[in-house]
């Protein structure tokens, strides 16, 4: 497989003017102090053709900046980037023919005009031949179930319907790479699932490379095993998501039901997360490996246990742990 995206030591600095409050406000009009904030520091990674890659990190980590550099909106302060042989910010017009971008929170479609008209405009913008356009459109209508939406203006659509139309709009020209910036934000469970299903289908059918940023870890769980983790402008981890999950696999959360209420629950090696009458939630400390048998022996010695269940910690918790561990 060939490398479709190559990012080599990309740095991006922003100059921010410091506004002082108080007496000097008037002087600030003429003299401003500048501070340089580096949004990206030596970011390097590669993406292979046909991959779905999750690009994750806390707010303000530099995700959007990276996406903007990759889509040719921003030019980096230093470093090299080659996507399909193009340098995005240099060959903008040639390059953007090959990409699709969905910004989860802003629309590319027209507010007051039927969706189909917006699509027709995109057809002209991308100079898509009519046959090809009709074929792609029909395929998209079928997979996304868009038929009834096409003749309605964007303002009448729900958030989920809007996202479906957005996705279709950014795929009309059959881009080789699709950038999705938080595509499932604010969507209900059913729509979320269908959006994910669609992303998977497109990836398989057209071999579209997909770069996805999200805060919803179940997106990542459902779509891909390849992640790039960024924090404070630096790449902290790239590789498989399951490896991270395994790292925290030994931590379990245990819910215990007791025969009678206790005033206080204490168990060596475990942390009590909550305690209410007969019920308690415990978690083993990180340095200890969890064994069901050991746990049961230990707790039943001290307390009268009726029932208990063991769960792995959630993906969100894993990420939260990772963020704290890396001091983000």
């Amino acid at each position: 497989m060939s490398k479709i995206i190559q990012f080599n030591k990309i740095c991006k600095d922003f100059k921010v003017s410091l506004k002082k409050s108080g007496k000097n406000k008037f002087l600030n009009l003429f003299k401003r102090e500048h501070k340089t904030i580096s949004a990206l520091k030596d970011v390097s990674f590669e993406v292979e053709e046909g991959d779905i890659v999750g690009y994750i990190g806390p707010n303000g980590a530099g995700k959007s900046t990276t996406i903007k550099i990759m889509s040719g909106i921003l030019n980096p302060t230093s470093g090299e980037c080659s996507i399909m042989g193009y340098t995005p910010w240099k060959d903008r017009k040639q390059y953007v023919k090959n990409i699709g971008v969905v910004f989860g929170q802003r629309s590319q479609l027209w507010w007051d005009v039927p969706i189909i008209d917006s699509f027709e405009l995109l057809k002209d913008i991308y100079k898509i031949p009519t046959d090809e356009y009709n074929e792609t459109l029909n395929e998209l209508i079928e997979t996304l179930n868009l038929k009834e939406l096409l003749n309605r203006p964007l303002r009448q659509l729900s958030l989920g319907q809007k996202m479906k139309c957005e996705l279709a709009g950014s795929l009309l020209h059959r881009p080789k790479i699709l950038f999705l910036d938080e595509p499932t934000i604010g969507l209900d469970a059913v729509t979320k699932l269908s959006v994910r299903e669609f992303v998977k289908t497109i990836n398989k059918k057209w071999n579209t490379t997909i770069i996805l940023t999200t805060h919803d870890m179940s997106d990542i769980d459902a779509l891909t095993n390849k992640i790039i983790l960024i924090g404070r402008g630096q790449i902290l981890y790239k590789g498989s998501f399951s490896a991270i999950k395994e790292k925290y696999d030994h931590i379990k959360q245990i819910e215990v039901e007791f025969a009678k209420p206790y005033d206080k629950i204490e168990l060596e090696g475990y942390e009590v997360l909550s305690h209410n009458h007969n019920f308690a939630t415990l978690k083993n400390k990180e340095e200890i490996n969890f064994h069901t048998k050991d746990f049961f022996n230990a707790i039943s010695k001290k307390y009268d246990v009726v029932d208990f269940s063991v769960e792995s910690i959630s993906v969100d918790e894993i990420l939260a742990k990772l963020y704290t561990e890396l001091k983000l």
């Binding site: 903007k68 040719g72 929170q105 008209d117 100079k127």
Partner: protein, 259 residues
Amino acid sequence: MLYNKYVKMHTKSTMQYRSNVMMLSFSACLISIGELLSIFVLFKNFKSVGYWGFYETALMFGIITAVYSLTECFARGFDEFPSLIKNGDLDRLMVRPVNMVYQIFGSKIEFSKLLKACLGIVVMIIAIINLNIIWTFTKILVLVMTVICGCLVIWGVMLVGAGISVFTIENLEFINIFTNGAKEIAYFPINIYNKWLSRLFTFIIPVACFNYLPLSYIMGYGSLPSVVYALSPLFGALFLIPCLLLFLWALKRYQSSGT
């Protein structure tokens, strides 16, 4: 052509708010008529300003009104460039394989300005009928050039404002001095004003080039050779070049904001 599609889309969008557009159009026209009336009242009392009479000033008023309205209608995207940056639409435009200037033209068309443009043209026609001008081909050409170059100059001012807003992200009120302020000034022949003011609006922002200079040619006034007056609109159009360059330079330095 792509631009036709943009026009179609904006028409469809505008038709959703028909009464709103009508109200906007009529109120803009009422204001213009009010301004014209005040010029009329002025000439009732003074007969002439310099060697310019009422109908000559009305012709100037008509040109200025038409020029401003047409530019505000079709170059609205540049006029409202800061909002294009603020709501992230500029980012959207940048991921499309079409020239940016073309796309910004397409991003907004303000049809509510068209009625006022028509009013300007009607005022021009009425003024011309009442002025005894012996029309020649070059005079008609100069008049047409005046309107076209006027639009280019105003577009130039908008480009400068848009270019600066790339760095400030704010709406620049001081640019209004040059757009709306110049408009108020240009209702009258610029050469009646103070020397510095008239130089500013002749050589720095060449408002005079679609104001008294070409009209001097059409009316046969003025002390300079008539070629100078006839070619003045073209001189004005040169103003666009540095403005466009500044805008393109600024656009290259655009730093998208936020998420």
